[in-house]
């Protein structure tokens, strides 16, 4: 009985009505949290003694970089689930998630480059952290390209799932590149085991922005999955009813 909710989520129809209820509140909560975190970080957090005000880029850079990796982890897990159990919702999730992850990785790269200029004196270095995030961006683009280039839906689903699972190897490389290898990039801001090295008035707004961005992305991915569900299930009678009867 406890697993009923999980099996229900695997049904496109049930998922659609469930996400119809949750997408907007989750998205709005995300926007609110993100706005609070960013304003707090930009205007109220104290200046960094070493980096001055350029450190304020952290409040967007760290959340998007975390999301870029989390989105990929979710993508990889969904792909694995699809390859093993052929779950119908998995390719829908992959299709919805990949563009979001790509945008997150791109923002992480650009904001990181802009932060690098005043801090390291260079926009870009080919070190482990930066290069592995660039690879992450290309993985997302590869998944998007594969899914849209192949007309055969079955083949497209499978190809995208295989490349996402293989790409999972990149995640530990990103994570440990700043700990194990020689790099310009600073160490992780948040770890599960230790208190952050910054004072709370610096990391609290960051935490707020991170939670906000997770929620923002969750809302977006639900909406994108809805579009994909409607398109793939257009032969079902419930889709017809939904599209014809409800305005939005």
């Amino acid at each position: 009985m406890r697993w009923v909710w999980f099996h229900k989520l695997a049904s496109p129809k049930w998922f659609y009505s469930w996400s119809n209820f949750w997408a907007l509140p989750v998205f709005c909560f995300g926007c609110l949290c993100l706005a609070i975190g960013l304003v707090w970080g930009l205007a109220f957090a104290p200046e960094d003694y070493q980096q001055g005000n350029s450190f304020r880029i952290i409040y967007i850079h760290v959340p998007v970089a975390m999301l870029a990796q989390s989105c990929y982890l979710a993508l990889g897990v969904a792909s694995f689930v699809f390859l093993v159990w052929q779950m119908k919702m998995a390719p829908i999730f992959i299709k919805a998630m990949a563009p979001i992850g790509a945008v997150m990785a791109l923002i992480a790269l650009v904001s990181g480059a802009i932060w690098g200029k005043p801090t390291w004196g260079t926009w870009w270095v080919w070190d482990a952290r930066l290069t592995s995030v660039l690879v992450l961006f290309f993985l997302y683009m590869g998944i998007i390209a594969l899914q849209s280039a192949l007309d055969d839906l079955v083949l497209a689903n499978k190809a995208a799932a295989v490349i996402s699972v293989v790409g999972l190897i990149n995640l530990p490389i990103i994570k440990y590149s700043v700990v194990l290898l020689e790099t310009l990039h600073q160490g992780p801001t948040f770890t599960l085991t230790k208190k952050p090295e910054m004072p709370p008035e610096m990391w609290l707004p960051l935490l707020c922005a991170v939670i906000g961005l997770y929620s923002f992305v969750a809302g977006l991915v639900l909406w994108r999955m809805q579009s994909e569900i409607l398109m793939r299930e257009h032969r079902s009678s419930w889709v017809k009813q939904e599209v014809m009867e409800n305005g939005l």
Binding site: G52, I57, I60, H61, S111, W223, Q226, S227, V243
Partner: protein, 58 residues
Amino acid sequence: MAFDSLSAFLMMGKHGVYVWSAYGFSALALIWLVWNTLSTRQKTRNILRKRFVRSQTR
């Protein structure tokens, strides 16, 4: 407030250009993502609605 005035806030010490360009790019990208998501949603519905209407009248 970590700044004395609005102009100090906008200048960000000597880092205003960097901070605001990073945030500007991020805002544009996030807004594009939201726009793309919602317009895809609307477009999907329009395409399907047209298709259903056509199949009904035929």
